[in-house]
Symmetry: C2
Subunit: 736 residues, 2 copies
């Protein structure tokens, strides 16, 4: 029985000073937004308004709620439950400390009053309070400290997050303003437990070699006494198994959970009831998906010439699901909101529906961000989308210290135990870019050894990576045209990697998104100013053009000076769409040596003016989204294109491929290839392709023609069309 | 109080059939040798006699000892203690099972009779026996099963060791015959404990940042009751600290433990006494060395151009001791005996004394071999020689299975807890060449994740490597002249590695060793026959010449057909000595990017005819030993030499270096360089070198001369001499 509370909040420079003003608070939510609303601060998403929220990173927040009196029945006990408070806090009841905690990912229960069984006391996470409460209201107070800042770090840098389990992205990133949320970001409520109740249910399984049987193991963690019974229901509804009390049972012919593009994500439902003296006193329910997943070595790695030293050039990064090697097509997911307390199932649902539409079967949840709420994983389980989950370490040196390792262990245990039940959870990873020269963590870093140890202990069958990238894997590049002048068309075929776990092509945001961020006058003509810098069009990282994601010089070189904001957006997203198509399709051509392609990034937590994302805030696809979706279809005919700009008289030549990640044979057929220029279609070739086996690409011929010399000034679109029914593809290039 | 037992043994095809014959048995020892002696089998080291011992790998061994009656005082208890039995066994007392165990590295105690305190029963490793024993002798029997053989493995291959913690080398290696020891290989005895006694003492420490204070932590594991007092004595003898009961204390200005060449290996002694009612009832003693050791990233790695992907090219492999980066000069240590039960402190002592003489500061104890006995580590502590200790995995795929992982965890726990107190222990490592194409284990292998976890849990400050080699490190090559015709002089400078953790140059063994292995008639002229193949001159691994370590074709090319066995040995060891000098000195020139050079291998467990070792069985240095010792001096003047064979009229040119790993500045001086040919010395150059800072090399000039054209047929020795006092060096080359 969960009872909500009514909250107020205020801030103070010190927990010794009561706030000058208390205002209504949303729980779950963020203090920053509640205070901003009450104080009449302007929309933080617009212009440089977010700077008015900056002072909040130096205050102490006080949350208060009245605890109503309660009449407890014999053996009942009442708790205050906090599923997650961001970030370090002390809880007081009528001025007496109930407990304190550092870390936003741990669920904590605090006993308020009632029956204290030996079982309940065993749990370190509970603190008893000895004062009597019956008969009158009491005051619950939560003091939240300012966000952690490593004193060794440069002021206002992301390195301030380097001794905490606080997501580093809040401290500022090249697509995220510096805005550090605080508050009760997950549910918090009162809960009354009977004398006997279900504390936790563990239902795990092992599949046999041919996946024809699942050996189920059922353990109920019960407070008090009673008998538990678990019923398992198959995906269509009927009960298929009943287990009475802890123990094992065999499920014959389990319907397997598959990721998108490889089969159905079958989920079984279970219900557990706790009975005492023949009466049901508590119940619990959940889901389970049966699948066998391992990271296997990419095909060809062991055969590569090694010379001295004779060790492998790459780590295993092929997700092999129920015995089938998966080509992982997906993206890097970032927080859907900067103020993570406002994230709900409704924040996730439209973004995940789009991910399915993009034919993505994996999301990398990088270490700069939060570990998402339960509903994210529930939706991924249902959609068949794998999750690569990193711990909250990113781009810093999280150096060895006892206080840090203590918090990390406690938070990691909470994360692993919360998420390990999800069939969509594919990989644990220590964090983002930790073995890079700007982070300088290594295999010897205690934090990474600890995380590997905890994952092995609590969830031994799930693969663990120390970080991304590792040997053989690639992060980058993030441009359509690199600094050295090469286009992505030339660069990608020269790479030889097992997994492209980050790559980007930037674009200007959709018009609606741009206008959410700023007035048109501030952003067109697009120039460096406070607003365009704040929203990452410029200056997000240092380069010779002072530019970041707008890349105006590239757009100007291809298309000339943009005349309108919509035209600028159209050209920019054109490059982004074609660039992403090139990368995803080239990575797929490199299968099976390559087994993964994830663009940086999918979405964004606020309206940027330019970004590598393909979905604008909050969930608006860019034009390039449909290009990516096309490139990630299970099967298509793809062209390897040498460059973007073509001239009359030049030999236009492309290589044809049938890319098939599907589980079905693609029957033989004919692809009709043509070039369309100025409304005229020029036949290029017919490719009579043979049948393509399941999960296997076919390399086709190179086809070419001399391009006609069109008269008249200006540039035109050159459209390469491949007509082959559902396998058809279109590429939009430039002709001059 | 330890009481020895008198043992007999016999063998049987099954534990159901009592052996037809029982013979005297040595404990510690090996059943193979005891049986061989009793049965009159010939010396296993000679010729192919070892084949007559092969049948023993398929028998069950029975060890028997009579347990005398005992009068126990009030509260006393008596145990049978087995410090290590090789490999899987069941123990019976008068026919009743006392316990069973798989794994040779665990100490086990079995309660025989007497007081059973709750404390004693808590330990899973003890099994109580309910039968009354007082008043009459009883029979202790130990049945040892045949060595483990993974049923998936090819018969008679090393892969048979792939699901056990049995050292793989016994199953046959390119320098080790297939001979699999069995038996009670460590001490086994009766022990009577009083009611209260010391079970274990843990004395650990943390050094502060500038190593000026050690925070000591003292924990006594006591059975029964009593008060413990620990006294710490400094390396010169006086007591410096007394701790009463468990707790912490600060030792100011601890004298630090240093490895060879960097300082003194200071060892403190401690004594602990257990007192009850004012009486000392038990005591224990041990040693502790204070040092801070970490694996730091090699200088230059983070600065290397990375491109895409942006991860590091190498793992950290610089041993940084008390803040000083050490250049690790050493070797790969192998079992000093095939029959490991015969190894004693006296087996280790002469070999380790030689290692010190060779200026080695580290020994890599590879995963194919046993984990050495306590006296090995005690000697290394005293000598200041680091130990890189691998777990017993080598060159196989130790695949995930519950039975294997269970045994591995139990054995690894025993190994870690036994050895972690030694200051010489530098690195834990999962095993040998596990990420190589012939092993195909990966970062995801459960065995390696488990070992990382256990090391972090039980000994968190000690570095852990998954295997050797890892990224940046090199194993190989193992020849003076490679298969592609390049000499080691040309090959080594072209390599760029952080650590050369294996490299070899083979030679024919010393004459005494050869004659221990075979009659001269069987080995000279040296041809392929049963004996030369058995003792690894030929056929140890497949190559186009059918050859392995004799490399006769190389010797013939340089020196012509050998006329006598001593001449063959001399020429072969000449190449070995110069080859090793080249590699060690070149690795040192590559400092600080390179931080380690370990040749394969140091010693050998039986008389080979040819091997990469520099010490023959049992502890006889080859001629090349002194070359290696010279190359590993803390400081020397070294020449980078381009090739081995020179002709009259040719320009002879070498590059000069002052190599300094020492902790002192080398003052400026003059090195006089000359070439000696046919007894005549030709002055080459004088190098006036400046002062070399501590731990820093100096690159000098290249110096050269046109070689004189000597008349007369035949080849001559060309000696390059560098005279510079203690820094002098000599290189012996060929002139034609």
């Amino acid at each position: 029985m969960k009872l909500p509370l009514t909250w107020t909040l205020g801030h103070s420079p010190s927990p010794d000073a009561y706030p000058a003003r208390m205002v209504p608070a949303n729980v779950p939510g963020n203090a920053n937004l509640d205070w901003g609303k009450a104080a009449g601060l302007p929309d933080w998403k617009f212009g440089t308004n977010f700077e008015q929220y900056r002072f909040m990173e130096d205050v102490f927040w006080l949350y208060e709620a009245r605890i109503p009196p309660v009449e407890l029945a014999e053996g009942e006990s009442r708790y205050f439950v906090a599923e997650g408070i961001d970030y370090a806090y002390v809880i007081l009841l009528d001025g007496v400390e109930l407990g304190r905690h550092e870390g936003m990912f741990s669920r904590r229960e605090f006993l308020l009053d009632g029956f204290v069984a030996e079982n309940a006391l065993r749990n370190d996470a509970k603190c008893t309070f000895s004062g009597g409460l019956e008969g009158s209201e009491k005051l619950l107070q939560i003091w939240i400290s300012p966000p952690p800042k490593d004193p060794r770090a440069e002021k206002d840098s992301r390195a301030e997050a380097a001794q905490s389990a606080k997501p580093a992205v809040s401290y500022g990133w090249d697509w995220h303003p510096r805005l550090i949320p605080a508050g009760i970001w997950e549910a918090a409520y009162l809960e009354v437990h009977p004398r006997s109740y279900i504390k936790d249910i563990s239902l795990t399984y092992t599949l046999n070699g041919d996946f024809s049987e699942a050996l189920l193991d059922f353990r109920a963690d019960i407070v008090g006494i009673g008998q538990t019974r678990l019923t398992l229901y198959d995906p269509d509804g009927p009960a298929v198994l009943i287990m009475t009390g802890d123990g094992s049972a065999v499920l014959k012919h389990p319907r397997l959970w598959w990721c998108l593009g490889y089969g159905k994500p079958e989920l079984y439902r279970w219900e557990a009831v706790l009975c005492m003296d023949g009466n049901e006193v508590d119940k619990a329910a959940g889901r389970i998906g049966f699948r066998h997943l391992e990271l296997t070595m990419n095909e060809g790695v062991w055969e590569e010439p090694m010379g001295v030293p004779v060790t492998r050039n790459a780590v295993p990064i092929t997700l092999t699901l129920n015995g089938v090697p998966v080509f992982a097509k997906g993206t890097n997911w970032v927080n859907p909101e900067i103020f993570t307390g406002t994230i709900t199932r409704d924040s996730y649902a439209p973004l995940l529906a789009l991910a399915k539409k993009a034919n993505f079967n994996i999301l990398r949840c990088w270490g700069g961000a939060i570990v998402n709420k339960d509903s994210f994983f529930e939706l991924c389980d249902e959609l068949g989308i794998f999750v690569w989950q990193e711990f909250p370490l990113s781009c810093n040196n999280y150096y060895d210290s006892v206080p840090y390792l203590t918090v990390l262990e406690q938070e990691a245990r909470a994360i692993i135990n919360r998420l390990k039940k999800h069939p969509s959870l594919a990989i644990w990873c220590g964090g983002n870019e930790l073995f890079n020269s700007w982070s300088r963590m290594t295999d010897q870093s205690a934090a990474l050894r600890l995380l590997n140890k905890l994952c092995y202990e609590l969830d031994p069958e799930r693969p663990f990576l120390a970080t991304s990238p590792l040997c053989g894997m690639a992060h980058g590049n993030y441009l359509f045209r690199y600094e050295d002048g090469r286009e992505v068309y030339a660069a990608m075929p020269s790479l030889h990697h097992t997994a492209y776990t980050e790559f980007g092509v930037p674009s200007i945001s959709n018009l609606d998104c741009c206008l959410m961020a700023a007035d048109e006058a501030d952003i067109f003509p697009m120039e460096i100013n406070d607003v365009t810098v704040a929203h990452h069009a410029f200056g997000a990282w240092p380069d010779e053009n002072g530019s970041a994601w707008a890349r105006l010089e590239t757009i100007r070189d291809y298309f000339g000076e943009p005349q309108t904001l919509p035209q600028l957006i159209e050209h920019s997203q054109w490059l982004q769409g074609e660039g992403y198509k090139c990368i995803y399709e080239e990575a797929r051509r490199q299968k099976p040596y390559c087994s993964m392609a994830l663009n940086w990034c999918y979405n964004e937590p606020w309206p940027t003016l330019a970004n590598n994302s393909i979905v604008n805030y909050p969930a608006e696809p860019k034009a390039s989204f449909s290009d990516v979706a096309a490139a990630c279809r299970p099967a298509l005919i793809s062209a390897r294109i040498p460059k973007f700009v073509w001239r009359g008289g030049e030999e236009f030549s492309v290589g044809l491929w049938l890319l098939n990640d599907g589980q079905d044979v693609i029957p033989a057929g004919v692809a009709v290839v043509s070039v369309e220029l100025a409304g005229v279609s020029y036949p290029l070739a017919e490719w009579k392709y043979g049948a393509a086996l399941a999960n296997t690409n076919l390399e086709g011929p190179s086809v070419g023609m001399a391009l006609p010399c069109l008269t008249g000034a200006g540039q035109r679109k050159l459209v390469l069309r491949i007509e082959a029914g559902e396998l058809s593809s279109v590429y939009r290039l430039l002709y001059r």
